[in-house]
Symmetry: C2
Subunit: 153 residues, 2 copies
């Protein structure tokens, strides 16, 4: 989807299916995040935000812990942390009491950046939920949570 101008119609087979709508809505959300982070996020991505959020909330943690809390694969955690580290937003040191671990902690500069990303995120929620009444927003979030938290059967 891009390039050519008008969106065109949508096949009925897709139009009514929740999975299709879900995908489209998520695509919109992802696009907003991409644009927002590109403009006001210093080139960071969703992965970075997730990691900083976990660090802010629970303090220093090992990479494996971070992965579990953010739903990011260990390998991807490594890559994203390297980037955060090179930006001075995060520091890593081997756990002296468990030398296979690396304890990651957020720098003050990282905390600042997190707060500015928060603002971007909040703006995205607004754009996303714009067409909804406050009551609908509540319903929507609640229902979404039930679907998202479903056990992976």
């Amino acid at each position: 989807m891009s390039d050519y101008g008008e969106p065109g119609r949508t096949p009925d087979r897709l139009k009514g299916r929740p999975s299709w709508l879900l995908g489209r809505a998520a695509a919109r959300s992802a696009a907003l995040l991409r644009e927002g982070f590109a403009e006001h996020g210093g080139g960071l991505r969703g992965y970075h935000y997730r990691l900083l959020a976990a660090l802010e909330q629970w303090g220093p943690a090992s990479q494996a812990e971070l992965g579990r809390d953010t739903g990011i694969d260990r390998s991807d955690v490594t890559a994203a942390l390297l980037e955060l580290e090179s930006l001075g937003l995060v520091e890593r040191e081997v756990d002296s009491a468990n030398r296979r671990r690396k304890i990651v902690s957020m720098t003050p500069s990282g905390a600042d950046r997190l707060r500015s990303l928060d603002a971007v995120l909040d703006g995205i929620q607004e754009s996303l939920l714009a067409p909804l009444t406050p009551a609908q927003r509540g319903q929507f979030t609640a229902i979404l949570a039930r679907i998202a938290d479903q056990p992976r059967e």
Copy 2:
């Protein structure tokens, strides 16, 4: 997200945000689709289903039309159609009255396949909406539609 066992907790910053929940829910949906299509879909992907759906509904069309109707980029349409063609699910021929176009039509075999993919898709909706009451399903779909159809400001 994989490998390591337990999911772990989720930062509050993410937990409540619609954009986060939307992404997670969509990820679940995508995973179900991937698994379902891998098992009962003959190795086809979402793109293929979208294209077949458009062809079934409106009959033969040019690739650009298909792209507009399915929300797939021209280049990706080309690739997906090549695959569908090599599977005998679709045929292409240059429009004699407009030689820059290629008119794509679905073969009977393609129609059969579409119907079998429909079944997979229906199963996915069920898994996805399982935790919801019928009333909630309606609300959810309606709200989702409003969000998904929002104009790209």
